[in-house]
Symmetry: C2
Subunit: 289 residues, 2 copies
């Protein structure tokens, strides 16, 4: 693949090409502070984010409309992973929040409940899959079962080792069922995390977002990066690749995830569905009422 | 504590006082084209809607934060009812859509499924009740069981007649469980509905929103108004009153529902929760990492 400088191609490279994980990917080589596929500053990024709202709205409504009329079963699933404070909540609020809530199914996966633990790790995931026409969004996901579970050996290694293949088979099943899968890792630096945790401690209105457990997890930073690298190595086939989004700059990360969503929706060829009734006959009926 | 919004400044009457259903209410006397509690025009209304976003955002986050830290179990349930084309979807998109999706649980109640019909009519409603800290939103609700069910005699009269009391007891249970209930009827005129149905027939990108059944229902207009009047007469106790929102002007209806939500949130006295950990100790730990 030919490399191009930012100045040459910044505005014409799709975000999906710039951020997609491919063969030989090395997480440690990706700069969390960089802004691939975009050479503007923060103000330009915020402007670009707002400017794309209308198209996103239009495409989402077309996706939804097609399912209502039963034209097809297409739907989207945006999976968002990342370390604490990497900005997942901001993505939910500012990117997902800009989409009509009637077309979104958002699920935040927390520590599994007793009931969830009694089932296979994909049980709770399957229950949350988006219906046709919907944009499903996972805040954390089945990948926690090879991330936190691996770092803390919550199940024996031979068990979590098998999960990479199980996940690949599961995701292939989704793709075969007309689900457009967009897997995003919010890639933050440890220095930036420290600043964000500090802010949560400094501001009384942010205390509720802080949990002493966040610092326990921070102590395992390197093990988490290793676990993420393993995910990229083993669960990024061409049909369901990961996108690694540099997340030290919040404005860039939001723009990047929005554009990833847009670029995938554009590829779905979402024509408005034809009426499944006789339009002229209904007009005549209405006129007489 | 709460800042005043432009919508408040335009009139001294709170929207909740202007729109609340009280003893002796007559639906037919309410003008669907009026704009109670607001003196401005469309442009002023849209400006007021946007201006209140920040306060709504702040109050929603406080509500959510308190539940996370376990301070209380407060939550809100906004119930939206109305004839076809009365603008329920617009409320979801423009009012509910402005709230952080992580704090919203939106449920659209369609024609009941076989499974739902096999249970008591409140079964599916109870399953969708908001968790502590959340703003639940019902697009249609248990009131369909005394509206469409009554108009079409889908169950014997002696059965739907009992439901008003069942609903009152159910809602009292919710209020006792710290749920702030806001019941909104979108009040549209038959002339305005005709125009909106006409638009759905005229525009190919709106065909998917039209269903020939909408005209069948329109033919029962008077029976529906009567059923709504019965709801107002029998299910509007002081603790869980209805608010009838004139809905012929979309901009007004959106502003009114947003302001009803805001006025109710303001009454909850949502202080930020105190930290449930030792802030200074955590700061020291973080500094050492």
């Amino acid at each position: 693949m030919a490399t191009t400088t930012k100045a040459q191609e910044a505005s014409t490279t799709p975000f999906s090409d710039a951020l997609r994980v491919t063969e030989g990917f090395v997480l440690a080589d990706r700069d969390p502070h960089s802004t691939p596929a975009f050479d503007g500053d923060k103000a330009a990024g915020q402007k670009a984010l707002a400017a794309a709202d209308e198209e996103l709205d239009d495409l989402q409504e077309r996706l939804y409309a097609r399912s209502r009329v039963g034209v097809d079963r297409q739907r989207v699933l945006l999976v968002v992973q990342g370390m604490d404070t990497s900005g997942k909540g901001g993505i939910m609020r500012h990117v997902v929040g800009a989409v009509d809530p009637q077309g979104v199914q958002l699920t935040s996966f927390k520590k599994p409940t007793e009931e969830e633990l009694a089932h296979d790790f994909l049980w709770r995931i399957r229950k949350a899959l988006p219906e046709p026409g919907m944009i499903g969004v996972f805040d954390r996901s089945h990948y926690e079962d090879v991330l936190v579970v691996r770092v803390h050996d919550l199940v024996p290694q031979e068990e979590w080792e098998q999960r990479y293949d199980v996940i690949n088979a599961f995701e292939q099943e989704l793709v075969d069922d007309d689900i457009t899968l967009i897997k995003v890792m919010m890639h933050i630096s440890p220095e930036e995390q420290k600043e964000r945790l500090q802010e949560r401690l400094d501001r009384p209105d942010k205390h509720w977002k802080f949990n002493p457990g966040d610092l326990d997890e921070r102590a395992h930073w390197d093990a988490y990066q290793e676990a993420y690298q393993a995910v990229m190595d083993r669960c990024s086939p061409p049909g369901a690749p990961w996108y690694v989004v540099p997340a030290d700059r919040k404005w860039y990360a939001r723009l990047a995830v929005q554009q990833l969503l847009l670029e995938h929706l554009r590829q779905l060829d979402l024509e408005w569905p034809e009426a499944d009734f006789d339009v002229e006959a209904e007009k005549a009926r209405l006129a007489a009422m």
